[in-house]
Amino acid sequence: MPLLKNNALVSDTWLVLGNDDVLPATGDVIVPFARLLRDFESLSRRSGKLGVVFANVDRAETLATFLPRLSAVVLHFSAFNDGRAYSLARQLREFGYRGEIRATGNVLPDQLQFMLQVGFDAFEIGDRFPLQVWQAASKQMSLAYQRGLFRRSAESEIWTERHTDAEPWLEQPHAG
């Protein structure tokens, strides 16, 4: 499935494994959280990159100790209006995680910008909408009132702009 990253389609080089699928000798793999807990030692001995599928009923703090070793966290939207993953993504970023956060499942253009703002930077988007629709959707609003969001260079935080002489908030890098 095509992956949207940095406003462009890229090929997905990750191998997504189930709990008992054979672990290949090389390559980047994404495993369920249960398998990460079970096989963390053998998984971290591999040379390829490691990612995890994290359910939105799991608690972010249970992933905290693994984050330095992870390069991708997959958060699944079973329905586009189930907003738990927005909080999880933001929590992971607040823990200092800088790897990929990938949205899968019912991902739609109208929610794309919110996802980018809380720290998602990769999206499994299917083929229902052309790339231009996604690109346009990523920048519908150029302003946000909230502080501490991930944002693109053309986006600004209203409160920060109004009070440029105040002490800066924890600056977030641009998403993607």
Partner: protein, 551 residues
């Protein structure tokens, strides 16, 4: 009053353009109705029984004359010449076309208004005391915090797909006119022993099918911490609030199921974990906003107005209206004028375009260009000189806006009910009309005194029946409308949920039943005792006997 700066303007313009695009894609069939629904709801657009309904936000219930005129224009041009003021201090239009909605949002943006988050599972329009900035008993004007919260909650990327809708109310006065204990979050300003002011944070109150009084999670939160603390509460709710059953998805259920202590611990843990950056920006933003709410230039006037007293003596109708519809202002020589939108036999909360324009003009001439919408679906002119009150009354009277029943039996709260609403199980409006006709005699209403009669057309309780001194809930029993009556509810500082009195009544029996309840009250009350106090003293028994014993 708050005024948009360039950022606020641009924000609302971009949002309108975004909605125009979404509506066009829906009309072209590129979005399914399921996908479009949450998008239109977050812009206040509902699909009701007969047409689309657009709910426009009136943040913390405050309007200028210019804004009210624009609401009148929209009523005339896009609706059937009227609008409906709601229990959440908003206005809704019941006959809207999808094709015209983006244009309406554009007209709203012209006067610094919008319909953002008046619906949907997100943080709704923040409500507050309709006498804010004017009430004699106020500690501080709560509207700057209301505006801060409006901005913070607008298109919040983390909290736009919550388990369920989320309502925040704020009060800056000890007498609670904002019903903070029956909101998802209630904020109450108070003074501590050292004379400092801080915010009590109350979580998990609500009405609906499971009415609950909220619990205090922080007793004294400093103002500059409000945003960060609310983020922690919202995150706990967003992550752990139930999503398996929409009837158990409000935060009150989470608080109840976890227990107040565990819920509090979750919030405090989340708050402690948050990157504790400086709150300097929030403090400065609040100061910037507060400057807009500086009191208008009041004149130094004597407390006593000769013109007012003379008019009262000369005009008994004016005297009666003044007795019932005015409230104490914090500045000598001024008064708060409450305009009842509850004429005998009328639809509670409805106003025509012409009436809106008249109220706008009165606000511009006599009330420092300010109007308020109250959660009881009335309009307030907050700053009127006593010397001018008679002129205001004459103008109101000529426009059928001088009903002298503010706070009395005819001042009924009612949801739109089955006449409009797709969720309703029974009609509310005809019941309200029949009660107001039953109590058409204002003299009798005055004898009965302060009473809140609230009517909801379904268990969702938009008409606040749980907190009515007398609550009426319309239900459907095998295709027939019937109405349950509750007594003893209150949304004031000693909040309580009403209890069901007994078997329900058919629609045409309700007004008589209310009459019997109030007759009973008149018999048992002690001198000066209001209905709710009498009920709390004697309990339901005498009322039950009056209603059911004979049968």
């Amino acid at each position: 009053m708050y005024r948009y700066d360039e950022f606020d303007h641009q924000f609302v313009r971009e949002r309108t353009a975004q909605f125009r695009d979404q509506a066009e894609r829906r009309l072209r069939g590129e979005l399914t109705e399921d996908e479009f629904r949450p998008l239109r709801l977050m812009n206040g657009l509902y699909l009701q029984l007969h047409a689309y309904m657009l709910r426009v936000a009136i943040p913390y219930g405050t309007l200028s004359g210019r804004q009210m005129r624009q609401l009148a224009m929209i009523a005339d041009k896009y609706d059937k010449g009227y609008g409906h003021f709601t229990t959440r201090q908003n206005i809704q239009y019941n006959w809207i076309k999808l094709e015209e909605t983006a244009d309406i949002l554009g007209h709203l943006a012209d006067v610094e208004m919008h319909a953002i988050q008046t619906s949907g599972n997100c943080i709704r329009n923040v409500t507050t005391d309709h006498w804010a900035g004017a009430a004699a008993d106020e500690i501080a004007d709560p509207r700057p915090v209301g505006e801060l919260l409006r901005q913070w909650s607008s298109l919040h990327p983390e909290f736009s797909y919550l388990p369920r809708k989320f309502k925040i109310a704020v009060t800056g006065a000890p007498h609670d006119r904002a019903a903070v204990k029956v909101h998802d979050i209630g904020l109450r300003l108070h003074r501590n022993a050292e004379g400092k002011v801080g915010w009590e944070v109350i979580v998990g109150g609500g009405q609906g099918r499971t009415p609950m009084i909220g619990v205090t999670v922080r007793d004294f939160l400093p103002e500059h911490e409000l945003i960060a603390y609310l983020e922690a509460i919202m995150r706990v709710y967003n992550l752990y609030g139930r999503r398996d059953n929409k009837y158990k998805a409000r935060i009150k259920i989470l608080v109840h199921e976890l227990g107040a202590e565990r819920f509090k611990a979750e919030v405090e843990a989340e708050y402690a974990r948050k990157p504790q950056a400086s709150t300097e920006v929030e403090e400065r933003e609040l100061a910037r906003i507060a400057a807009y709410f500086a009191p208008p230039p009041f004149e130094r006037l004597p407390r006593w107005s000769a013109a007012f007293e003379e008019a009262r003596l000369a005009q008994p109708d004016f005297a009666r209206w003044a007795r019932n519809n005015l409230a104490a202002h914090k500045v000598d020589g001024y008064t708060i004028v409450n305009i009842s939108l509850k004429p005998e036999g009328g639809i509670p909360g409805d106003a025509t375009g012409d009436q809106m324009r008249l109220m706008a003009q009165l606000a511009e001439t006599y009330s420092h260009d300010e109007l308020r919408v109250s959660h009881a679906q009335n309009i307030v002119l907050p700053h009127v000189k006593k010397d001018d009150v008679f002129a205001v009354w004459q103008a109101l009277d000529a426009a059928a806006l001088a009903t002298p029943n503010y706070g009395l039996a005819g001042d009924i709260i009612a949801c739109p009910g089955l006449d409009y609403c797709a969720l309703a199980t029974a009609r509310s409006i005809p019941v309200a009309q029949s009660i107001s006709r039953k109590f058409a005699d204002i003299g009798r209403q005055e004898e009965i005194g302060q009473i809140k009669i609230n009517i909801s057309g379904c268990i969702n309780a938009c008409g606040h029946h749980h907190v009515g001194h007398i609550g009426i809930l319309g239900l459907d029993k095998k295709g027939e409308e019937f109405y349950q009556i509750t007594l003893g509810g209150s949304s004031a500082e000693h909040s309580s949920i009403g209890t069901i009195l007994g078997p329900g009544f058919a629609g045409h029996e309700v007004a008589d039943a209310i009459d019997k309840i109030l007759e009973t009250y008149l018999k048992i009350r002690e001198p000066g005792e209001e209905f709710i106090a009498a009920y709390r003293r004697v309990g339901p028994k005498p009322f039950k006997e009056a209603l059911y014993a004979a049968a």
